[in-house]
Amino acid sequence: MLEARWLRRVTLRLRTLFQRDRVERELEAEFQFHMDQRIELEIARGLSPAEARLAALRAMDGLQQRKEECRDMRRVNRIDDLWRDLQYAGRSLHRSPGFTTLTVLIMALGIGGNTAVFSLVNQILLHPPGVSEPQRIAVVRTKYAKLNLDFELASPPALADARANKQIFEHAGAARLLSINYADRSVPVRLPGAAVSAEWFDVFGARPSLGRVFTADEDQPNANRVVVLAYDAWLRLFGGDPGVVGRTIELNQQPYEMIGVMGRDFHQPRAVDVWVPLALPPQAFASQNWFNGSLSVMFRTQPEVSFAQAEAWLKWNAERVAAAAPSNLRGLVKNWGWGMRASRFADSNAGNTKTPMLILLGAVGLVLLIACANIAGLMLARTSARTRELAVRAALGAGRGRLLRQILSESLVLALAGGVAGVLLARGSMKLLLRLAPESAVSGLAARLDVFVLLFATITTLAAGLFFGLAPAWQSSRVDPYHALKRGGRGVSGARQGLRSGLVVAEAALALVLLVAAGLFLRSFARLQTVNPGFDPRGVVTAAYSLPPASANPVKQAAFARNVLDHLQGAKGVTAASIGWPIPFSNDLEGAAFRIEGRSLPAGEAVPQGERRWVTPDYLRTLRIRLERGRFFGDLDRADTEPVLVIDETLARQYWPDEDPLGKRIQPMSGEGWYTIVGTVDHVMQSDLAGDTGRGVFYASLYQRPTAMGSILVKTSGDRSAAAAAIRDAVRAADPKLPLYDIKPMEALLANSLAPRRFAMRLLGLFAAAALLLAALGLYGVLTFAVTERTREIGIRIALGAERGALLRLVVGQGLRLAAAGVAIGIAAAGLFGRLIESQLFEVRAFDPLTIAVMVCALMAAALLASWLPARRAMRADPAVTLRYE
């Protein structure tokens, strides 16, 4: 029975949709029949035919409106109307191509920009490519509360404990970065690689696109001569040949079997070309190794386990381990405040780009908001010019809701057209973003439109369409047909003008917020470039090397270093050459704790610590670091002479505030002997111009204590590429199979450290410029429209002898008043926005009067220009023409 009723209803709906003409004719006929009957009745009551007709119409109380109500009862009207509204909107927009093009263009830029920035945020923060369910991945951190240290490293026992706890963790994996020399080709290359445990790929849910990944059996010492290639490396080195699986290559002078190629998107750890098994020996998991955190350890939680639960377990386990620490390590645990915690993978992956990315997303959102306000203003102007058309439609029976929907569908069509154009544009702008963005933040990211980005674009488009369509729709639905038609559709209500002025004020305010933010970033950046890093990077070229494990022999390492530097001494244009490791701004740090001779450490006190560097004697001369006191290293500091150290002023101030550090002895806690301090040098910034780590540095002689890794530094008076070539020649002479990498001018290292800021600054500048342009355009539009509407009034004024200068002041004054109102609101809003970006500023306050003053001037200048153009038009009005035109 119920089905029968539904069948009937569906049949009726379908009939209405597909036999519209017939249904319409029947409606006409039904009403006609009624009217005839009523007229007949009234005539029978004694009225004249004409009077009877009027009476019948009165009784119906709006014949067309009643018909429309009957149509509404059919329900399908909504679909039907929507379709017709969209068609009508399309036709009506087609008739004003200028307006349509401008609006779609503004929308396209707004949506395109937002989509592009969101795609970056999506790939960095929300859905890192190649990683499934990133919310289930936790990154283990080791914390030394007393040392104020906190890093994403953990030890093998921490990995083993998590791997054993299947209730909480589905997978646990560890990785350690490796530098691998690959020498199958004529030119040796260095491949960034990682040694990973067998479950590493499972933690990320990553699958190979070819072959397989490691088995647990291969993750064992001496069974580990297998390698998995990254997709990009596979393309680069082997041209994407699927036949490589099963073949053998030589890495670090050892044969490895290639067993698989990873999926295209997987880049964990970042930017590696090859993965080999970590193959930890069983003794690495012994409990005294708990505090040797040198692995990047990540967990994948079980599906129903939350991040908080996983972190709670980690903390609890760390407390358990600390309490059970062997007596020789208990002091260390206590004095250093050892503990463990976790961070979410997405946060760790984003690193310090998280805040700048969110600021940029906010900024580009503001640009879209301004664009919407702009389009709303244009649409208001348009609807007010169409008052007559709307009034006619209202008089013909269109209800308020219908008119509202019609205008809304017009804005929907505009928004969708803009959205589609924007998405097409987004691909291009994504590529641009990736090129502008700092390499470290976006390596491995691609300009790709995935489901999330498209969803974001769709929602943003619809929201924007609704936003800029609502005000005009509401206005138009209040059209009063009686007055509108009587006035010939010319009148404009003050409220509408007010609404549009309000939009312009909001645009100016938002534009000022963006201008000020961009100004603050610019000033911060300018300040940063004047920061003295403590050394002179000019003319210095660096190149890194990593000696293979086969030459893990101090004598060979020292001989190599001497050999390379001897070759460089005589090279043309080279004024100084040295080797250092790690070098400033290379993002390598080597922290070390030490003991001071003759001092005992009170319980609970932090252990002395600093950054450790290994350098050759000419290091100071190459980087022009000043020797403060004592001496630096000489050629005579050798493995068999007295071990010596040079410390920097920061370390000297920290640990020998009232003493002379020269001649004092310290012992690094890595189990070496005592070193005598023989000199002090100036402090050098480590990795960030915006903030020093505050940690002191101690230098050891690389000839006395050789290292496998090193960066060759060459100071040149001439051409940098010649210096780079000289380094290559010197290394080839010393070891023809050793590859060099990161061959860069020292200035580039410094510039790279500023890359995230430069990116944010440039993008913010771009957004601010767009905002300024849109706000000026909005003001121009409103004033032009006001002038056109007041043509008659202006004509009369001129006819009555008004001075043209006064007219100019009238229009320009109106424009500047609106802009000034926007400025007032904008200054307050800029203060609020400033707090959000404060963390990214350097030596500039979030509320910086100078920046605000400059940006207010820029905004007012743009406003002046935008109002002067329509004012000129008003001034030139010819009263004879304008009055006749009416």
Partner: protein, 111 residues
């Protein structure tokens, strides 16, 4: 109270269902019949009759057919469907309950 427009919300549907339950009628005849049987008390304005009828039709409670009237013109005749009859019974029962309750309250003697 006697103005037709003041018909209690929902009661118009009930009245229309009852009238067409007696015999298939066109809209004009329905309005005349309603006036007639209620002794001129209940009147539906011409304007509100049609939307109401169209609504009932879309609900599937009444169905429409084009037939020839006694004076030879074609008109749209409405008749009750089976779901319409059940709907009417439900509505009528509701109405009985409601009007009974209201009468009781109204007849309460003041203490």
């Amino acid at each position: 109270m006697s103005k037709p427009a003041d018909l209690v919300q929902g009661t118009l549907d009930l009245l229309l269902l009852k009238i067409v339950a007696l015999e298939p009628l066109h809209a004009w005849a329905i309005s005349q019949r309603l006036k007639q049987v209620s002794g001129e008390v209940l009147q539906v304005s011409d304007g509100s009759l049609y939307p109401a009828l169209h609504k009932l039709e879309q609900e599937g409670w009444i169905k429409a057919e084009w037939k020839v009237t006694e004076n030879g013109r074609r008109a749209k005749f409405y008749s009750l469907t089976r779901p319409g009859r059940r709907a009417f019974e439900r509505e009528a029962a509701n109405w009985e309950r409601l009007s009974g309750a209201i009468s009781q309250v109204v007849r309460l003697s003041e203490a």
